[in-house]
């Protein structure tokens, strides 16, 4: 076995009698950003939950930094895997800094208080997400995009070898989406193994080193964005007709979805 921070080996998950994941395998290396793509209900969120031990696995194993997730306590997992949730309750009037500081929970003992390492991690997370100027504002006063950044900062403050993101850009405008992914990209470049479920295929292609295409709980395709994003795989997975062209500006694949009935023609392919 490799010493990859994250190894998902042939994992199956059954929820309510239905098999949501069937034999999914995936690895993420240090410094790598892996994009998890696929239609709604493909099992992306369940896979992320399985990685952090949030759902029991029926078969297979998740290994984080060499240790099986099922043998770790919640606290030990919290020191190894951080998650940016799609949305979360931030309704209580905590300040931005307090909310981000909660990312350190797993690192602080029951009777302890944050030490210099914790303070440094919090400051670094605030800086990376450009939240310093908002640090003392109540979370409830922020816009949706700013709150999403708070969630990202909280996960960064956890300072874990593995970072999971569940649709981090789903509710963001294009500017905030780009900024979020730039931050995630930078964090990955610094040595974190990041796995992000992303709906926007163009953004996924642009920022991820590798893509894993899930459909009906199965890995349909995995590899370079260029090899995963093809008309054939997308037609299979999304049950939609899509044209994949090349974006000259970003030098990455561009996906144009078309209604299922229409057939792509030569001129649409540009």
């Amino acid at each position: 076995m490799s010493d990859s921070p994250l190894v998902v080996d042939d994992v199956s998950v059954t929820l309510g009698g239905r098999e949501v994941l069937s034999g999914v395998s995936l690895t993420a290396e240090r410094g790598e950003l892996v994009g998890l793509i696929g239609p709604n209900g493909a099992g992306k969120t369940t896979l992320l939950r399985a990685i952090r031990g949030g759902v029991p696995t029926a078969a297979g194993a998740v290994t984080v930094t060499g240790q099986s997730v099922s043998s770790l306590s919640a606290r030990e997992i919290g020191q190894r895997v951080a998650t940016v949730p799609q949305e979360t309750e931030l309704s209580f009037g905590f300040s931005v800094k307090q909310a981000v500081a909660m990312g350190r929970h797993a690192h602080i003992g029951r009777f302890g208080t944050p030490d210099e390492t914790d303070q440094a991690a919090i400051a670094d997370a605030l800086a990376r997400t450009s939240l310093e100027s908002l640090a003392d504002r109540p979370v409830t006063d922020l816009s949706g995009g700013e709150r999403q950044r708070v969630l990202l900062a909280r996960a960064l403050a956890q300072a874990t070898p593995v970072l999971l993101l569940d649709e981090p850009t789903a509710s963001l405008d294009i500017n905030h989406a780009i900024r979020t992914l730039e931050t995630v990209r930078a964090v990955a470049d610094d040595g974190t193994a990041a796995v992000a479920a992303i709906h926007d295929l163009d953004l996924a292609a642009r920022y991820c080193d590798r893509l894993v295409l899930l459909a009906e709980g199965d890995v349909v395709a995995a590899g370079d964005p260029d090899t995963v994003l093809t008309s054939e795989t997308l037609a299979d997975a999304f049950d939609a007709t899509a044209v994949v062209s090349h974006d000259e500006v970003t030098d990455t694949p561009r996906v144009t979805a078309l209604p299922a009935e229409s057939t792509p023609t030569a001129d649409e392919e540009e």
Binding site: G54, R75, G78, F94, M102, H105, A106, R154
Partner: protein, 365 residues
């Protein structure tokens, strides 16, 4: 570091408020005693260890064992009026200390329940603790023969409270998971059911009706030191456990999924918080009856003032609850005829809370 300082500052300030409230309250009553006399009497009651005595203890008749015991002596001896001292130490202080302890327990449990349920309407009795205590107490009054083991009124109330909380927990738990929404609804249903039981018992209570109504309204009167001791021993221990989980409670406010991701053992933490809060509430309700409002409104008041961080809020709310109940109980007993303290807590607390609500920017909960 900053959090600890804030917690310490607020705790110190609110302890001072409590000390002042206790001193003033002890002076108020049919016999007025000036505060400085009260302070002298209270200081006279402070004992310090004066040395170790070796007292011979005979074992089995013949063998003599030297046993060291601490000898205590009063630290200070102000000359004070004996009658005043008796009134304060034997009559008023037990009741005041009981009020402080009950208020402390109810406000602490209420704070935890509101955070736990992420619901502003949550109070200490939300999982049926008060209703269970009421059934136990009313049964003890109406059909004393039905209470086994000579538990007495308080014992029956305490056991009723704990059994009810446990039943609600079991009903709401499936496969090791206790969803908060299920727990809340199970609590509401059980409270409604027990309400019917209490009403039925009242209907057939006959001679005992006055005693039943008196208990149900909440009361702190006729408290002696023996009533206070057990509650005074239980409450601080349980509070320290809750305080140790204050940061987990903060994280739980983000939702259980997020809390698990941040390293909280969610189900285990929930079980512990529930159990400790239930015992804390039961210990209070068993001695004082159902005193509403303290556990619901005091946490909100303090949350508006000190913010949502439980490391600061929990001690602040508990101390605030203690002062609040000491003050309201003093008002309840200050008039010509004593009124149930529950009436005073609601009548005074609600307007004050509404005032805070209007004058503070309320973000959420």
């Amino acid at each position: 570091m900053r959090v600890r300082q804030r917690a310490a500052t607020w705790s110190l300030g609110l302890t001072t408020v409590l000390a002042v409230a206790i001193t003033l309250s002890a002076g108020i009553g049919p016999v007025r005693i000036p505060p400085e006399t009260v302070v002298k009497i209270l200081l006279n009651a402070v004992s310090v260890p004066a040395g170790i005595e070796i007292a011979p203890l005979s074992v089995a008749g013949t063998l003599q064992l030297p046993v060291p015991t601490l000898r205590w002596r009063p630290a200070i001896a102000f000359p004070v009026d004996q009658t005043a001292e008796t009134i304060i130490m034997r009559v008023r202080l037990p009741r005041i200390v009981l009020a402080a302890t009950v208020g402390f327990a109810l406000a602490a449990a209420g704070t935890v329940m509101q955070g736990f349920f992420r619901n502003p309407m949550a109070d200490p009795s939300i999982i049926g603790v008060s209703s269970g205590a009421a059934v136990g107490a009313v049964a003890a009054i109406v059909v004393p023969a039905a209470i086994p083991f000579g538990l007495g009124l308080r014992g029956a109330a305490f056991v009723g409270a704990i059994l009810t909380a446990f039943a609600v927990y079991l009903i709401a738990t499936e496969g090791g998971r206790t969803p908060v929404a299920t727990l809340l609804l199970a609590g509401v249903a059980i409270q409604a059911f027990l309400g019917a039981v209490i009403a039925a018992l009242q209907l057939y209570s006959g001679e005992g009706l006055r005693a039943v109504v008196h208990w149900l309204m909440g009361h702190l009167g006729n408290a002696g030191w023996s009533d206070v001791t057990i509650t005074l021993l239980i409450v601080p221990v349980l509070f320290v456990i809750l305080l140790a989980y204050a940061r987990d409670l903060n994280v739980l406010l983000l939702g259980e999924e997020a809390a698990a991701g941040l390293g909280v053992e969610v189900e285990r933490t929930k079980r512990l918080l529930l159990a400790v809060s239930a015992v804390l509430t039961a210990a209070a309700v068993a001695v004082s009856g159902v005193i509403g409002f303290v556990g619901l409104i005091v946490p909100h008041m303090l949350r508006l003032v000190v913010g949502p961080d439980h490391r600061v809020l929990l001690p602040a709310a508990a101390l605030g609850g203690a002062s609040f109940l000491v003050i309201t109980d003093t008002i309840a007993r200050a008039g010509a005829t004593e009124i149930p303290v529950g009436i005073v807590t609601a009548a005074l607390g609600a307007p004050f809370f509404l005032y805070l609500l209007r004058n503070r920017e309320v973000h959420a909960l």
